[in-house]
């Protein structure tokens, strides 16, 4: 709206409402495998998502070209070793097909996603993330569940719980590994007044149920080993959110590690411009509170920029510490024989020992460790660990497991997260139907002049060797 107000031609791209099939890839949010069947009613879903977003409707009225239910799967610009892109462009794909949109300025406001660590039974229908839960409740207005256990007591957990209560869903309790309610006293008071039990110094041991969640086993972390069975049909994991950085990372924006989140984020100047020209990072993870005017002034007249202030936002306790506590306690209580990567069925111990995937039925002559770095460069590369174990290589593109995997590596090997190079983000940033992304503009030159892959080109008689003829 601000850019439109400044008289720019604006296209707004949003992936919601997502197709049911795309939601099953757990991106951007961790929807889990218990998505309500009512989401397949596309007309109703479009109505719900649009009507619950007043600002979006305002954009439509003000001639912003709003493209919803559309995925920005890649972005392309001339860069070293790629000099034939021409005008910078974004690749988008809808339910009908794909197109390349050219831009003068690209604002990435890709939001955040759920951090959901593994525990026994986390693949059961009924386990979902806090962002996913809140989105399903307030935007899609489709939610399967009547009694929900909430993991975590951070602001996201309370936001979800309030939205759930408003819609008549019981909250079976909050599970908190420390002795402190993370969202603060006011929210604690709300929870107590609402009669919601708070299980302090506890983590989940297991989600119970055969074809869907029917209970949760919660275990005390005080060493007593005390367990409690909580009856519930949904488990909402609301521990932390992390920025959605797939697009800037994959398009080559320089990234830096923000210790407190803990996450890799694009490096920006004081106008929020990334290292890629005309590409801006607009995010709640940035410290500035006047981000939109900064970006607009830079787009308008290339306002001079300085090095970015170093700070990023702080939401109460450091998310990094909270994530660390959860991962450490879940491992301590749940052990290492828990599936870490759902797509490829790899356990925590198989991952940390760099075991080849089970389907290869192969072992390793000697144990190897993930730490490869010397004095220069990262100490651990998640590209290596994913290539060996397939954790992060599956159809969710690592969205479910890559962050926990990094924290596990950090704790297991005693290497700070900043020294662990995350697995490379790749295009497409969402899995895309082959039929939708196939090029329609396959011109004569591309079709007929596309050179043979070099080593398959037949060596002509004139230069073929003669030694053994």
């Amino acid at each position: 709206m601000a850019a439109r107000g400044a008289d720019y031609e604006v296209t707004l791209i949003d992936e919601h409402p997502q197709e049911l099939k795309n939601m099953s890839f757990d991106a951007p949010y961790f929807y889990g495998s218990g998505l309500p069947a009512s989401l397949s009613d596309e007309t109703a879903v479009f109505d719900n998502v649009l009507s619950s977003n007043e600002l979006l409707l305002e954009c439509v009225e003000n001639e912003v070209d709003v493209k919803i239910g559309v995925v920005a799967w890649g972005a392309f610009h001339n860069a070293p070793n790629s000099q034939h892109i021409g005008t910078p462009k974004v690749g988008i794909v809808s339910r009908e097909g794909n197109e390349l949109l050219e831009y003068d300025a690209l604002i990435l406001a890709t939001g955040s996603r759920d951090f959901v660590p593994s525990f026994k039974g986390w693949e059961l229908p009924g386990v979902l993330g806090g962002k996913a839960g809140a989105k399903l409740l307030t935007s899609y207005q489709c939610f399967n569940g009547t009694r929900c256990l909430v993991l975590g007591t951070a602001p996201l957990a309370v936001e979800f719980a309030r939205a759930a209560c408003d819609r008549g869903i019981d909250i079976a309790g909050f599970v908190e590994p420390t002795s402190k309610f993370q969202a603060g006293d006011q929210e604690l008071e709300w929870a107590l007044n609402a009669g919601i039990p708070i299980l302090y110094e506890s983590v989940i041991l297991e989600a119970g149920g055969t074809d869907k969640v029917s209970s949760a086993t919660v275990i005390s972390t005080d060493g007593s080993g005390k367990q409690a069975e909580v009856e519930c049909d949904t488990i909402c994991v609301s521990i932390a959110v992390l920025p959605n950085v797939e697009l800037p990372a994959a398009m080559g924006c320089e990234m830096q590690f923000a210790e407190e989140h803990p996450a890799w984020v694009p490096k920006v100047d004081s106008n929020l411009q990334t290292s890629v020209q005309d590409v801006y990072w607009l995010s709640a993870f940035n410290a500035q509170d006047d981000q939109i005017p900064r970006i607009l002034s830079a787009v308008g007249d290339a306002a001079s920029a300085s090095e970015a202030p170093t700070g990023t936002t702080q939401h109460g306790a450091r998310a990094a510490d909270y994530i660390n506590v959860w991962v450490a306690k879940l491992l301590e209580m749940g052990g290492s024989d828990v599936v870490l990567c759902q797509c490829e069925t790899v356990t925590r111990s198989e991952f940390l020992e760099l075991q080849p995937p089970r389907y290869l039925k192969a072992g390793m002559r000697h144990p190897h460790v993930a730490v490869t770095g010397g004095d220069a460069g990262p100490k651990i590369s998640q590209d290596l660990t994913k290539r060996m174990t397939r954790v992060g290589m599956g159809h969710c593109q690592g969205k479910r497991c890559r962050d926990e995997a990094a924290v596990l590596l950090s704790q297991h090997y005693g290497i700070p997260l900043k020294d662990i190079k995350p697995g490379s983000y790749r295009f497409p940033v969402r899995p895309i139907d082959m039929s939708l992304i196939a090029a329609e503009d396959d011109d004569y030159h591309t079709r007929e002049k596309w050179p043979h892959w070099m080593h398959e080109e037949v060596v002509p008689e004139s230069v073929a060797g003669t030694a053994k003829r």
Binding site: P356, R365, R387, Q397, H445, P451, M454, G465, A467
Partner: protein, 387 residues
Amino acid sequence: MMNYDVIVVGSGLLGLSTAYHAQKAGARVLVIDRGAVAYEASSRATGYLSLRADDPDEAPLAGMAEKLWDTLDEELGYPTEWTQKGRLWVAFSDKQLEELHQTYKAFTRADFGFELIDAQACRELIPILSPETRAGLYTPRSGHANPQRVSQAYAWAFQDYGGTILEHTPVYSVIAEGGKAKGVKTAAGDILADRVVLCAGGYNANLLEPFGVVFPVATVRLEALVTTPLPPMYEVGFIGLNGLSIRQTKRGNLHANGGPHEWVDLDADIEPNKPNTPIVRNLVRRMIEAFPVAKGAQLLRTWAGVLDITRDQKTIIHRFDHPEGLLVAAGAGHGFGMAPAIGIAMAELALKGHTSAPIEGLSLERFAGLSPTWKAEKKWDAGSYNT
């Protein structure tokens, strides 16, 4: 100051294979790289062993590699996913059929059992082939492996023998004194060894320039992709539609390589940029043309690599007399499959001065009199596209 028997510059598959065999033979070996292990050409490889049937100079080395591949998992102690189920070139049009016959003629220069087969026989090998299939060129020999696993298998097997890998450490130059190689100048200081083996892709040319050598390689950026996993459908290595390679991985993903080439320049200090482009959409289109069933999968991941192509697209294996102790290898775009054999040849040449591997005709001698402007003449200079 660090001291080794052999320094290998470049931790791609050729460098790792060379290092593995030299270390196994008892030498103390260092592998050094400006980036991470197998991050340029080796991570983009299709995973095929080209038998080089059209070139009698290279075919014997490919034959040697083929035998090594069949027992490589046992040799290294780690899985490579080697699948020995043959290779199949497929024609889908009159034009491609004509090209296939020419290829067949060329492939009879060596005896790898290539034969022309009809569409029905092609579909017995790959049941999901398009109805447009006209004919195929097939050999039951050779196969494919997982490039990422193979590189790591060599790296780990090398380390199991006590070898050292130094990542993220640029090499600036080769040190030579009195006509002998003495080591390398690096970002971590000088490192000494009497034998220096260059397996650094296009950057070999930069390292050899001070010795008056015009090293005949150009570097190219190429793209690759995989789909989401599908049920097991075929095991042969497929090639068709202007050199598009598609193999099905052990996990079930379709892994495709091919497409336009962008020629690039490489820099010493940093791992080269390897962006993808919208051309992956055209790759997808061609995959669907070859295998219509691919329509039902999702594009999961794309990536790109940079690799070195020699002027005549043939392997280079060379041991210099001046300076003594300096050696160079280049894989010419099919180094992946050749690597097991090239590693043995290079290790033997470095340690013993001679090798039993069939390398006749693969030295730099064949490029005597090469024009210094050959890249521009061939339109393989940086920035050229699809040439």
